[in-house]
């Protein structure tokens, strides 16, 4: 690759600023580079939507857990070992044929990290944040989701204190599946409410 200067490279402004901040804080003993590496590694590889999918699969297959989740989701989720480092509370909102739930953070980007990992870029973007409440049906359409007219849409606005987990409807044709198999069906977006899970029974005919 050609370079118009014979040595070195240009650092972009934000990279240089963050490097400066890290050096400043490290020199003062306020952060430790190895600890930063560990945080990045855990959010990139270990903390992700699988935790949330496990919660959903349990809610589908264990009526007692579902009750607990409905009554006090924070407690039910903590009992599985998924604790939010921000100390937030979680409410589980259940999709039904009558009501579809969708989550947004209109002010910034509050999101149940411990269950879903870090939010996707669109979740943090101004277009989603400003439009989800105003025109949820149009937003869902952009996500490729068209709900029946009789299904009401309820949009939940997350805050620093309260996060929401959407429990999507269990796909038809998933009877008899194990918790692990069920968890494998659950997508991140279905737990934000911007996707619905396809019916497994309809798979055969859809293929033709």
């Amino acid at each position: 690759m050609p370079h118009d200067h014979d040595h070195g490279s240009d650092l972009d402004e934000m990279s240089a600023r963050v490097m400066a901040l890290e050096k400043l804080l490290t020199d003062k003993g306020l952060v430790e580079p190895a600890a930063l590496d560990r945080i990045i590694d855990s959010y990139e590889t270990r903390i992700g939507p699988r935790n949330g999918a496990h919660v959903v699969a349990l809610a589908w297959s264990d009526p007692e857990f579902r009750d607990r989740l409905e009554r006090d989701a924070t407690e039910a989720i903590h009992s599985l070992g998924y604790t939010g480092r921000q100390g937030e509370h979680v409410t589980a909102v259940f999709n039904t044929p009558e009501r579809h739930n969708m989550v947004v953070c209109t002010l910034c980007s509050c999101y149940p990290w411990s269950l879903l990992g870090l939010p996707p870029v669109w979740y943090k973007s101004m277009p989603y944040r400003s439009r989800a409440v105003r025109e949820p049906r149009a937003v869902l359409k952009e996500f490729g989701v068209t709900l029946p007219g009789e299904t009401a849409i309820r949009v939940w606005d997350s805050t620093a204190e309260m996060r929401y987990l959407v429990i999507p409807m269990r796909p038809g044709g998933s009877d008899g599946m194990s918790v692990e198999e069920l968890a494998g069906l659950v997508t991140r977006d279905s737990m934000i409410g911007t996707a619905i899970l396809p019916d497994l029974a309809g798979k055969e005919e859809a293929r033709t």
């Binding site: 963050v18 959010y43 980007s109 277009p127």
Partner: protein, 139 residues
């Protein structure tokens, strides 16, 4: 209908509302550049150390996001990520400045020496902050 990815978001929305970025990319990374991941980790580390609590953080972040210049409707996911984490950076800098941890001007100064160090370091070698401490080379 099967769970196919998003088809054509642009056409489905004739009113030209701002487009939601990155919908069609299910494999989109959390961070679009290493500095974003580093900044995120710095923030979590400082929060654990008690520099601020999350309600304070999100309140400030919301203010910075509101004040930020709006992106054009056709902005990419990468541009949105940079935009978001730039507001995040301003939030953190504000907390640090109030705590007297990073005095105004100190970050700029150090950023400049990192840039000098990068320019002075041949490709393939680690960039050392010390190499940027000297006055800018006269090229």
């Amino acid at each position: 209908m099967r769970g196919s990815p998003i088809l054509n978001p642009a056409e489905s929305n004739p009113k030209a509302m701002p487009r939601i970025p990155g919908l069609s990319d299910a494999t989109e990374p959390h961070f679009h550049a290493p500095w974003q991941a580093r900044l995120f980790a710095l923030t979590l580390s400082l929060q654990q150390g008690g520099l601020f609590d999350w309600p304070d953080w999100t309140g400030r972040l919301a203010t910075h996001l509101r004040m930020a210049v709006q992106l054009p409707s056709d902005a990419s996911g990468a541009e949105h990520a940079a935009h978001y984490y730039t507001a995040w950076m301003r939030t953190l800098e504000q907390f640090l400045e109030e705590a007297g941890t990073a005095e105004h001007g100190r970050i700029e100064e150090m950023a400049e020496s990192w840039k000098r160090a990068a320019r002075a370091t041949p490709h393939g070698q680690p960039i050392l902050h010390e190499n940027g401490l000297a006055a800018p080379s006269k090229r």
